[in-house]
Amino acid sequence: MHHSFIARISAAAILLTSIALAQSIQLTVDLSDAPRNIFHSRVTIAAKPGPLTLVYPKWIPGNHRPSGPIANLAGLKITAGGQTIDWQRDPIDMYAFHLQVPAGAKELQVSFDTITSGESAGATGAAASTNVLDLNWNQVVLYPQGTNSDAVEFAASVHLPGGWKFGTALLIKTQSDEMVEFNSVSLTQLVDSPLIAGDHYRQIGLNQPGEFPVHVIDMVSESEAALAMTPQQTAAYHLLVAEAGALFGARHYTKYHFLYTLSDEVGHHGLEHHESSDNSVAERTLIDPELRLMEAGLLPHEFVHSWNGKYRRPAGLATPSYQEPMIGDLLWVYEGLTEYLGNLLTARSKLWTPDQYREALAETAAVLDHRAGRTWRTARRYRALGAVVAAAGAALAKLAPQSRLLPGRRAYLAGGRHSHPAADSWAEVSRRFLPLISWRPKRRSQGRSVHIRRCC
């Protein structure tokens, strides 16, 4: 298993080589209707006369399943030079729209709305509320079928609700009032760079002065009171960044944003990205000791994913675009090792005391020791569950720490809250390879961090 894993990582690394960006698409997302959960997209795509198929992202990184919320797309209108163009949805692939670009047309104007009150790519619940929003770009784009997501460049901009502030790993090109224009990036990087915004916003720096790359926590919430991170927590997140650097020995990103939404009104999830993570928890998580204890491991887990899962990605998940199925048989490494290292960092950074870590590990061990699913399916085969549940059209089965499987059937299906089925196996691995798994780096980084676009 270990050998084939390394071989697949090498295969994935070859895919990372940069590809010349062939096409540029302009995307403007009007978020001013966020409080009623409607995002308005306008997309300008260069086109040649003849048949064209536009697609909506289906297989979403970090979800590892066909979770692109196609049912949320509404109001699709396509024009060229002021002329309305008829389109037809593919009779089999609900994510594909066929059309004919008329003679003489050089570009298409595409507009549509995304209704974000229901499931929004990975989280049950709304993407926005009266005071906050979470923009996952895969929900607001269309792109030509057959396009490699590395090979298409997006010039994206947003129109925010009045007075709202935002956080994202994207770099700002221009900003005036509520309009923000970002530097062009590949579709891969755009989808990998979510944006959160809100009426109540606070940013906390996590570096020593003059230290790079820069790490920040961008927080938005339903209330000003919910942003009151204690000095102890702030110190612990400083330690998280420093301890992760010591653990891995090198950093591969140019900056890192922990995006942190505190709200009871939107879906709760943690979604990993290369230069950021998109985390959403209960409103009072920073100020309520119980919630703080429960969520302490979330940011460390998603942070570790930047190394394990993004910078290095299982080959089966490194698909050329969002329309190709992902093969997730290495998810036990992707999630299990991340959970092990994330919880380790939670303790090392003092977000948990050693005693709290042991209570959490005891709970995980107990949950996994009481899983009848283990009697009929191996941990490696657990991955199939995501596809099974998706196929059944059932609710969320994301393999994340706070995820929930089908209510009432968790015990038999095997997984469940706080239970990456591989996490206990990693405890076993750690016994065998303690010197290795404690990840004390043999050599320090050369002080150079490399940002690889693809891998995200």
């Binding site: 380790l344 870590y357 061990a365 009697t375 009432g408 809250r417 196996s425």
Partner: protein
């Protein structure tokens, strides 16, 4: 990883100098989750998780006393030993079972139909903890910060 079995591989914890035990003391994480999630976790004793609101049995562990008695997920707990169920009523009965074996008559609603399931159980409330065992404490060693 490649084998099925009835138990999780817990050797890593044991060879790290600790072992998994269950006792009546609350687990800090389980306790916080119970309170925030508004449910009672009797998974390691009777074998179910029950929601405060409506008594919905969210999950029932195959092979547990509740499962063997015939109770399944999606049913609703109505009463314990003739009294309307609440966290306190169920907890008190579980605590009593630490001293001596208790009979639990659980009145359960399954859609439109009601049935009493009888369970005999001893052992009290059960929550998981790690207890220091023999050998060097490698787990604490792993948890030590790398930076001083």
């Amino acid at each position: 990883m490649n084998a099925t079995g009835s138990h999780a591989p817990l050797n890593g914890i044991e060879q790290g100098g600790w072992r998994l035990v269950y006792n009546q003391n609350p687990n800090a994480l389980v306790d916080a989750e119970e309170k925030q999630g508004k449910y009672l976790n009797a998974f390691y004793s009777l074998g179910f998780i029950v929601r405060e609101s409506g008594g919905e049995l969210e999950d029932v562990m195959p092979g547990s006393p509740a499962y063997d008695a015939g109770i399944g997920p999606g049913m609703r707990l109505v009463a314990v030993n003739g009294r309307r169920w609440s966290k306190h009523v169920l907890r008190d009965a579980l605590r009593a079972s630490l001293e001596k074996e208790q009979r639990f008559d659980l009145l359960v609603e399954n859609a439109e139909f009601f049935k009493t399931y009888s369970i005999t159980y001893s052992g009290g409330e059960k929550y998981p903890h790690l207890l220091r065992a023999e050998g060097p404490d490698l787990l604490s060693n792993i948890l030590s910060p790398l930076l001083k």
